[in-house]
């Protein structure tokens, strides 16, 4: 394991390039509509998992109701495009901004609480969202859902399936880039410090509350972005897409993939989208197998498959060792 990690850390750039190449080539190799569809859904889930990782992995707050925020993004995009005829880019942005505002609204009164209470709040928020989506008939058409959400298009050009795949791939890469930059900066250090020990962070000049609200806003913005894309991609949404069950799947992806590791979210998002597809022939047994796998995961590696690995730190430690400086 250690050797594998060191090798990965040493060649991180190449590994990333190879993964990117695989992602780019995938639709060319597997041209079947079904496989491209699975690939796109994988990437949407990766995007959600990335956003949740910001909150849960880096900030240490378990987001139990993430489908609620995902749903706000989706409904914002759906309503704006079907009722007001907004274009794709505008609804995408509006989805992210609206969700972030909701995130701030939820965060301001609750983020003074400690992590596990916030987890319950997000869970309750998800329920509230679902109830509102079901009952605000004039806006959301209730449980009949919103059909005919325009397909993803730019400047009047409607994207075919394979181009939608590349669109979400671009969004995923952009998101990873932004999160990576934030985490490896003074702000990222502040976020990690608040997660590790908010009293010490506060004594070192970091305002824990401000950092929590900021992180919550960033995380929910990306969740909203994913939701908006999802609405346009699927074309029909109704409240049953954004239930607590869906939230459970999102948090499973994030935790199983690895907390505090962006590649973990990629792994978690893809594997928990593909796994149910592979297990489809097993029919009813599927859910059991799925559950057993998760339990094994929790027992063996509770922080997730790639959780807690920091390639930058591994590289730094290697540089000191090979430099022949003394240790311990």
């Amino acid at each position: 394991m250690k050797r594998f990690l060191r090798g990965w850390a040493k060649n991180e750039k190449w590994v990333n390039l190879i993964l990117l190449a695989i992602a780019v080539v995938y639709p060319l190799l597997f041209g079947r509509a079904y496989l491209i569809n699975v690939g796109t859904l994988c990437l949407i889930n990766v995007l959600v998992s990335l956003s949740l990782n910001v909150l849960t992995g880096y900030m240490g707050i378990t987001g139990l109701g993430w489908a609620g925020f995902f749903g706000i993004g989706a409904y914002t995009a759906a309503i704006l495009s079907t009722k007001l005829g907004w274009g794709f880019l505008a609804t995408l942005l509006a989805g992210a901004v609206t969700t972030a505002l909701c995130g701030i609204l939820v965060g301001l009164p609750t983020l003074k609480l400690s992590g596990r209470y916030v987890a319950i709040v997000t869970m309750a928020f998800c329920e509230i969202c679902r109830a509102l989506e079901t009952n605000m008939d004039w806006l959301t058409r209730g449980s009949r859902g919103i059909p005919n959400i325009p397909r993803i298009s730019l400047f009047g050009f409607r994207f075919p399936k394979w181009m939608q795949y590349y669109a979400i791939l671009f969004l995923v890469i952009l998101t990873m880039f932004i999160i990576h930059r934030i985490i490896n900066s003074r702000l990222g250090r502040g976020i990690l410090a608040v997660k590790d020990d908010d009293i010490a962070a506060s004594a070192m000049g970091v305002d824990p509350f401000r950092y929590k609200v900021m992180t919550f806003a960033i995380a929910t913005a990306f969740a909203g972005l994913a939701g908006a894309f999802y609405a346009h991609y699927i074309g029909f949404i109704d409240p049953s897409n954004f239930t607590f069950d869906q939230s459970t799947i999102f948090i499973s992806m994030t935790i199983m993939g690895g907390l505090g590791n962006l590649m973990g979210s990629v792994l978690g998002g893809i594997s928990l989208t593909v796994l149910p597809e592979i297990l489809r022939p097993l029919m009813d047994v599927r859910q059991i197998v799925y559950g057993v796998l998760l339990i094994i995961m929790m027992l063996v590696r509770p922080q997730g498959i790639l959780g807690g690995f920091n390639l930058k730190h591994i590289r730094q430690q290697m540089s000191v060792r090979s430099g022949g400086e003394k240790h311990e």
């Binding site: 932004i178 930059r181 934030i182 900066s185 003074r186 702000l187 990222g188 250090r189 502040g190 990690l192 410090a193 997660k195 590790d196 020990d197 009293i199 010490a200 962070a201 506060s202 004594a203 070192m204 000049g205 970091v206 305002d207 900021m214 960033i218 505090g260 807690g308 920091n310 730190h313 730094q316 430690q317 540089s319 000191v320 400086e325 003394k326 240790h327």
Partner: protein, 255 residues
């Protein structure tokens, strides 16, 4: 004597019926080493917590350079130039030694979200500057070789030293150490004493809560003695040592 940079006026902290600190009036002068001693439960740490903003005092005021800082938040007080360590070490375990110290520089940097995402000139400069300051401090405290280790992987004595380093990184005027020698052996305690004297030479003002009398008596210029929330004595080490009420607090009354 130098000017007073930190003082409390009638500082009182009650927790329900318990009066942890009662009417504390302490004065810390610039560039001196002051010890606060007293039996367990005398209210020393509570006093620290009141001064650094961890608690809001029930009554009384805290002044830093004649500025009223009573009720200010800990992170605001740190920005003004006061840094502290904790009785039970509080490091950031998922961060390296270097990152822990770089976090100390946090309050001196300004880059916002847009800066860090676009890696603007300001973000790059501040990051390089933070690293330079952190490495400089680690060189002073002798932790440079451990800079890429995880903070909590260090042996206990070095973790203490890392906490000092992190406090120093916020470029404070005054450092408050809560039981810095706790759990240290004799040699480590002696090194700690030398280190605190070095800090004084570098221009810092140091206030420490400490149980190790040998250390306190050898380095502190003034000592406050707390007992049952009250300040029972103040003076130079010699004065305090011969003060009957101090002897009573520690050893009990002679029958």
């Amino acid at each position: 004597m130098n000017e007073v940079i930190l003082r409390t006026e009638h500082l009182t902290q009650r927790f329900g019926g318990l009066c942890a600190v009662h009417d504390a009036n302490i004065q810390i002068h610039k560039n001196e080493i002051v010890g606060i001693i007293g039996p367990n439960g005398a209210g020393k740490s509570t006093l620290f917590n009141d001064i650094t903003g961890m608690y809001v005092p029930t009554e009384g005021k805290v002044y830093f350079h004649d500025m009223d800082i009573t009720g200010k938040k800990p992170y605001e007080i740190t920005k003004l130039g006061m840094a502290r360590t904790f009785q039970n070490i509080r490091l950031f375990p998922t961060m390296t030694v270097l990152e822990n110290v770089m976090l100390g520089v946090h309050c001196k940097t300004r880059s916002n979200l847009i800066d860090v995402v676009l890696k603007t000139k300001r973000a790059r400069q501040e990051e390089a500057e933070a690293q330079r300051i952190a490495e400089e401090i680690l060189n002073i405290t002798g932790l440079y070789d451990y800079r890429y280790n995880y903070a909590t992987s260090l042996p206990y004595g070095l973790q203490r030293r890392l906490e000092f380093s992190r406090a120093m990184a916020s470029s404070p005027e005054i450092l408050l150490f809560d039981e810095p020698a706790a759990g240290m052996n004799e040699q480590e305690t002696k090194d700690l004493g030398d280190f605190i004297l070095k800090l004084k030479e570098m221009g810092y003002t140091v206030v420490l809560i400490e149980h190790d009398m040998k250390l306190v008596m050898s380095i502190c210029e003034h000592i406050y003695v707390q007992d049952h929330g009250e300040c029972i004595a103040y003076g130079t080490p010699e004065e305090v040592k011969s003060n009957p009420s101090v002897i009573e607090a520690y050893l009990g009354k002679e029958e």
